[in-house]
Structure formats: structure tokens, C-alpha cells
Amino acid sequence: MTQIDDTPAKARSPFSEAFEMFRRNHAAVIGLVILLTIIIIALIGPMLYPGDPFDMVWVPLSPPGEEGYLFGTDYLGRDMLSLLIHGAKVSLTVGVSAAFVTVIIGITVGALAGFYRGWVEEALMRLTEFFQVLPTLLFSMVIVSLFGASLPMITLAIGLVSWPAVARITRAEFMRIRELEYVTAARAGGVKNNKLIFSVILPNALPPIIVQAALMVGSAILFEAGLSFLGLTDPNVASWGQIIGSNREYILDASFAVTVPGVAIFITVMAISLVGDGLNDALNPKLRQR
């Protein structure tokens, strides 16, 4: 007998569908598991593995495994494992908050530029282009060196140079979506502009922004690492990049002190980008049948 099943029994939101898609993507799931592990380590690691990471516990630069120090010790004889665990929190915090700054500025500028035409768009796009021609790393180096190497300043500096990408994506999405018929329908239905922007267009524009934001976390971590490597860093905390930067001169002898945090960054960013790719595929309507 021919079964004509014209309506699925359960109401499934685009997001739950996306989740379904995501779950089928093995690489993305692995990435997510790694990422969650890292986040959990960052959150509860300090409890499980107590001790001030800045305590000097053993002979400096002793290789991994010695005396039970899994990843060895750094140039001051501090436990690398402990530093790594605390560094996870710092690096992730910088990553997430820089991504947050980026996304907030980017969405605001992009949404307004994409929604309104005329001088608003013109002005905001010029602003975006302006920030786009600033050499990102150099500019943030200058900011950090001028205004102090504290974490918030570093975060701000990263956010400040990174938002144009988000703004461009947001604008493009807004320009695409604002021409779609459901937006016209909403206007015909008397929906006000701010509601149009934030509750009609924005949610539909989010997928690529979410992907970008996810990837942004990764690039912010890399960015911070780069600044740390150049010595533009807050010495009172130990981000992964900073661990690399300050162990840099010992690489010939104790390359693990650079390799290990490098691998930590690598794995984290890789996990983030796997998740980002997964999100991209899952949220991309082209890849989902209509």
C-alpha cells in the first residue's frame, strides 16, 4: 500500500534539525567532545588538580614525566600541567570574551548597515572598511603597549580589530534576508523596524554568524597567543600563549615547554574549528532538504 505521509508527526524546529545534522557529523561531534573536555578541565580542573600554578615545585625545565609531573616543569620549576589547566581557563576566557566583543560590535554594525539603506549603510560600511585596512596584529600590539598589557585590554584589542568580518557577514545576510518575502510579509503585518531587525531578520541571519563566532573564539586564542609570544602579555596570569612565549628561549633544551602548550592551543583551536565546520554544515539550509 502506498503510504503518503505528508506531514511529519512532530514539530521540529530548524534548530533541532540542525542539531540532528550536527550529531551525524562525526568529526564535529569529536570536536565538541574535545572542546567540552577542555572547558570542563578549565572549569573544574583547578579543583581536581589543586595548587597555585605559580608555585615552584620542582627543578626547572625537568622533562615530562619526571617526579610525577606529567608535562614536566617550566623555567621556574612550576608544574606545567597545573599551568596548562589554569592556562585553559585564561585562554578560553580571552577567546570567548574577545569573540563576544567581536560579535556584539559586528552584529550591531552589520545589522544596521544591512537593514537600512542610504547614509546609515554608507557610513557604517566605511567604518568597517576602515577597521579592515588597519593591520590587525600591529594595531593591537600598539594598543596593548600603549594602554597596558592587562587581559581586558588584550581582549578589547583583539575584539576591536576582529569585528569587521562579523559585520560583513551580518550585513550580507541582512541584505539577503531583508529582501525575502517573509520580511515584506512582516512589514505588511505592521511589524516595527526594531522588531524586524532583532526578532525577524536576526534569528534567520544567525547561522553564519554563529559559525563565525565559534571560529572567532579559536582565532582570538591564536591572536592572544601571538601577542603573548611577542611579550605583550599580562604576567600575572598564564595563558597558553604566554607559556609558549616565556619558555621560548628554552626550546632547544626543553622543547616540551613550548610544544606542550602549543599542542594545547592546537587541539583547542582544532576542536573549535571542527565544531564550527559542523555548525556550518548543520546550519546551512542548502545542505538540508527543504
Binding site: M1, T2, Q3, I4, D6
Partner: protein, 328 residues
């Protein structure tokens, strides 16, 4: 009778779906004679384009494949050919034009280059000759000022002109068969009339057989000699145009004709409601079911319809796959 130009025998095309293999085309047989126009009609998704692509050997890679059956062209089975052999036929003896003139031309090459390319490939022409021939072809498809338009890019042309360029490409090698997959759907009626006019004239001049895929019964009536009505990957009805349209032997054909408001010669104030075919086409996954796939939307359906696949019944040249064909 002479041998048909193209003969499709029991063609079955399967698609790899998430849920497994499903037949998009199931047991399709038909013949195309030299110089005639054969039309495919049917609802969206019933497999018209798949059939065309199968003939071209262009089924979507890794997704679609010919599961069984033969496609005999000039006595050779195209279903068994390798890519090289197929490429020698494609664009040369069988060519195709597509629905979307806007996107079917490569935006980064001039139209002249895109026409000349086929000529170089199949006719071994040199650059100069191919270019000169391209201008002639553009002229033949009635593009004004062909000499200067030949170096235009697709985006510099209107939809109708692009479709003409597509036709020029398709006809460049004077193919034996031209497959036109909904060539005018994206165009305005006035332009559609121009294109149909052109196709008819060119077909007459070159003796090219045309497979015209469309969903417009009017177009079928005007353009085609014979028609195939497809439903859910199967042939519902098959025969010369005029008997099929005037006296359909399949409830689906009937519905298809009567649910469309046609331009009428005699207008009345009265406007009765249109005939409705309830429901929608079954999902691809159930295309293989041993039953009449139209049964769920058919007033006449009974248990037999729902449990056994109807055989093909002939009424002269007209064939219908319906248990109740004789009652209609």
C-alpha cells in the same frame, strides 16, 4: 516502419537516498523517431529531468545510476557505454538545453567561445572557423547583430537571448536529438512563443528529433507529436498528442488537463471551480511500491489499485497504465 532513433527499454534509475535506494524512474519504455517531437509532462519531481539526464549519461554522480534497462541510440546501448564514448555523443549527436537560461551559461566566457568550444571539440574545427560558425549560429537563432554579440558575456544578454544561445550551442553540431528540459519556464510568454517558434523552425530545417519536457499542456498540444505523461517515476500515459489530450485514458492525465484554467476561445461569465487533484505526489522513498502510485489521489481507486501495479493497456497508439483505463 523504420527503426526508431532512440529506444528506451525498461529503464530503471535508482537514487541513493539516506533511507536506501529508491527508483526515480521505474520500468520506462518508449521510442523516439527521427524528426518527431516527443513531450514529457508530469508534476514536479516525477522524474522527467532524470530521464533526460539518463539519456545524456549525466545522472548526478554517486547519487543516481541506471539500475537496469537499455537506452538504445542508433542501435547502441548508451547505458553500457563508458564515459569517453558518451562524451563523443554528448553535445554532438544528442544535445540538451536546460530550464534556467540565466545560470546555464558559464558567466566567465563569451557566448561565442561557449558555442565555438563545442565545434572545436566535436567537429575538429580550428579557432577561426569555429568562431565564424558561432556567428552564423547566433544569427540562425535570431540574435540581432550576431557579429557584435558574439563576444558578449552571458550577463550582458536577456533571458530570452541566453536561451537562444543555449539553443545555438545545442544545435551547433546538428544533433540527431535535442532534449529541451522546460526551456521556457523561466521566460515570458511572448519570449516563450519566440523560442517555440525557433525550435519548430530549426527542427524542421535540420530534421532533429526533439524531446520537450514541460508542464504546460498547451505547449504540448502545440509543439509535440507524441507525449508521455509521467507520474511518480512511471509512465502513466503514452501516445499521440491529440487523442491523449482530447480523450485521456488515465485519471491523472485527465486531472492534469482539467485542473488548469486554459485560455478559452469562448468566454462565458460563468466560471466553474477548477477540478482538484487532492493530495500530493508520494515521497520518493515509496516510488518502488507495487501498487498504482496515483491511487491515493484517485476517485476511482479500489483495493486492486492500491495493491497491484497496473499494466499498460493499449488503445490504438495510446497506452495507459491504469486498472480502470477502459472506464474513463
Amino acid at each position: 516502419m523504420t527503426e526508431p532513433l532512440l529506444k528506451i527499454e525498461n529503464l530503471r534509475i535508482e537514487l541513493a537516498l539516506r533511507s536506501g535506494q529508491a527508483p526515480v524512474i521505474d520500468d520506462l519504455s518508449l521510442e523516439l523517431n527521427a524528426g518527431e517531437t516527443l513531450s514529457f509532462v508530469g508534476e514536479s519531481g516525477c522524474g522527467k529531468s532524470m530521464t533526460a539526464l539518463a539519456i545524456m549519461g549525466l545522472l548526478p554522480e554517486k547519487v543516481g545510476s541506471i539500475a537496469s534497462g537499455r537506452i538504445l541510440f542508433d542501435g547502441r546501448d548508451m547505458a553500457q557505454m563508458n564515459d569517453t564514448e558518451l562524451r563523443a555523443i554528448r553535445g554532438n549527436e544528442i544535445s540538451m538545453i536546460f530550464q534556467e537560461p540565466m545560470t546555464s551559461l558559464n558567466p566567465v566566457y563569451t557566448v561565442g567561445e561557449q558555442i565555438a568550444e563545442v565545434l572545436r571539440r566535436h567537429k575538429g574545427m580550428n579557432k577561426r572557423d569555429a568562431w565564424a560558425r558561432a556567428i552564423e549560429l547566433l544569427d540562425a537563432v535570431r540574435i540581432p547583430n550576431a557579429k557584435s554579440r558574439v563576444s558578449a558575456y552571458p550577463h550582458q544578454m536577456s533571458g530570452g537571448q541566453r536561451q537562444r544561445v543555449m539553443i545555438a550551442i545545442a544545435l551547433a553540431c546538428e544533433p540527431k536529438i535535442l532534449i529541451a528540459d522546460e526551456p521556457t519556464t523561466a521566460l515570458d510568454v511572448t519570449v516563450q512563443a519566440q523560442i517555440f517558434d525557433l525550435l519548430r523552425d530549426l527542427g524542421r530545417d535540420t530534421g532533429t528529433a526533439v524531446i520537450l519536457i514541460t508542464h504546460d499542456m498547451g505547449a504540448v498540444a502545440e509543439m509535440a507529436d507524441r507525449m508521455v505523461v509521467m507520474y511518480a517515476g512511471r509512465k502513466a500515459e503514452y501516445g499521440p498528442v491529440s487523442p491523449v489530450i482530447n480523450h485521456p485514458r488515465h485519471p491523472y492525465t485527465k486531472g492534469l488537463i482539467s485542473c488548469v484554467p486554459h485560455l478559452l476561445a469562448e468566454l462565458t461569465e460563468e466560471r466553474p471551480d477548477l477540478t482538484e487533484v487532492p493530495g500530493i505526489v508520494p515521497a520518493l522513498a515509496s516510488f518502488g511500491t507495487d501498487a498504482c502510485l496515483f491511487a491515493s489521489r484517485c476517485d476511482l481507486a479500489d483495493d486492486k489499485c492500491r495493491s497491484q501495479r497496473p499494466p499498460e493497456v493499449a488503445f490504438g497508439d495510446q497506452h495507459s497504465a491504469c486498472w480502470k483505463a477502459d472506464q474513463i
